[in-house]
């Protein structure tokens, strides 16, 4: 009877006073590492690709916490066309923070310039959490069916980090990842951009963005838009974004509260 009475201990819900409420708000913001409450310009504008993807991640994390098994997340997240991208289960389990970045800039090859065609993307990584290191960074793009009628044609998509830009010549690039898909395929493409995000974290002034090229089997350059690659002007739920997984460094000391 002791155990029975004891487990049925009282759960009291009381209304907080104004001061307690303000203190609690400050405490929650402090735990989240925020100086004040964020004021997103377009907050709550659903559906958009990055928040939807992050919500999917959130649900996966919550179900993992409920299971409490530590087996990792096995649920597919934003089913992708990419065959090379590893399952995110272990990455999600180990992550302390996940951030999605909105594409800030999107440049296309100037129509007066010679081929090849390309498309550039840029993400602002200046406001990243302190004391955490990147484990994985992914660039996610949506591809619709190609506008060409040759749907079974293979397309080779490559993502480069722009190392340095020059005024009158091509920028210095380094290959990050590539993917080969059918022109008729439709869905999300995932590219590993971990190396680039690590560079940008170390030195944000060298963040010149990512450049994308599309080629066919003959090595001919294809206009990314004609290949079905969607950009900033796409529907909100299909816009490109970058997602980065962070892990807190082990020697990080949490202050006593």
């Amino acid at each position: 009877s002791f155990v029975k009475n004891h487990l049925r201990s009282s759960f009291i819900q009381r209304k907080l006073s104004g001061r307690e409420k303000r203190e609690m708000q400050r405490e929650i913001l402090s735990i989240l590492g925020l100086p004040g409450r964020p004021r997103p310009a377009n907050g709550g504008q659903f559906p958009s690709s990055a928040p939807l993807f992050m919500l999917d991640l959130y649900h996966a994390m919550c179900s993992e916490e409920e299971d409490d098994g530590g087996q990792g997340v096995s649920r597919p997240l934003f089913t992708t066309l990419s065959t090379q991208s590893p399952p995110l289960g272990a990455v999600i389990s180990e992550a302390d923070t996940v951030m999605s970045f909105v594409n800030m800039v999107e440049n296309d090859r100037d129509i007066f310039h010679q081929k090849p065609y390309w498309k550039e993307f840029k993400f602002d990584m200046t406001q990243i959490p302190t004391g955490e290191s990147v484990t994985v960074a992914e660039f996610r793009l949506f591809k619709t069916r190609s506008f060409s009628r040759q749907f079974n044609r293979t397309l080779h998509i490559s993502i480069y980090e722009i190392l340095r830009e020059h005024a009158n010549r091509q920028p210095e690039l380094t290959l990050l990842d590539h993917e080969s898909i059918q022109a008729g395929d439709e869905g999300w493409l995932v590219f590993d951009v971990t190396a680039a995000s690590n560079h940008w974290l170390l030195n944000s002034k060298y963040n010149s963005g990512l450049r994308l090229y599309v080629e066919n089997d003959d090595g001919q350059s294809i206009d990314p838009s004609l290949a079905g690659i969607l950009g900033r002007r796409a529907p909100r739920s299909k816009q490109p974004f970058m997602v980065t997984f962070f892990r807190a460094s082990k020697n990080q000391i949490r202050s006593t509260r």
Binding site: H6, L7, S10, F11, P40, G44, L55, E65, D96, M99
Partner: protein, 139 residues
């Protein structure tokens, strides 16, 4: 010392100050009348009530437990506090000036995750391990 305590305890065993009070050899000494033994409470933090849903995407709120009151450890059958705390209680009883009372501490913590926008419309998912108290030493 325990023998003496047990004798004295038998006299006052019937007048427990609180219905949730745990049976303890220290009852009449450690927890004087009017004081509460440790009780478990639930606190619900509502992001909706705080008016934060313009930047917090999920969850709408979360509940956590906290304990309030003094620990009182049963030394007989239902002993679920750590031996260390029980020992500290005993030593405190003998040398109250040099050894403090055992305080209630969380024994089971779970993770919680928060999904929110930052000022630049980026979305952050933050996982806090060992954040929500599920039980404490007395329970």
């Amino acid at each position: 010392a325990i023998k003496q305590l047990k004798k004295r305890q038998q006299k006052k065993h019937s007048d427990l100050p609180h219905p949730n009070k745990l049976p303890s050899v220290f009852d009449h000494i450690h927890v004087p009348d009017g004081r509460q033994v440790c009780k478990r409470h639930e606190l619900y933090v509502s992001f909706r009530d705080l008016g934060w849903l313009d930047w917090v995407i999920a969850p709408q709120g979360y509940s956590a437990f906290y304990c309030e009151g003094e620990c009182s450890f049963p030394l007989d059958s239902c002993m679920n506090a750590t031996n260390h705390a029980i020992l500290q209680s005993l030593v405190h009883l003998m040398k109250p000036e040099s050894v403090p009372k055992a305080c209630c501490a969380p024994t089971k913590l779970s993770a919680t995750s928060v999904l929110y926008y930052d000022n630049n419309n980026n979305v952050i998912l933050k996982k806090h391990r060992n954040m929500v108290v599920k039980s404490c030493g007395c329970h």
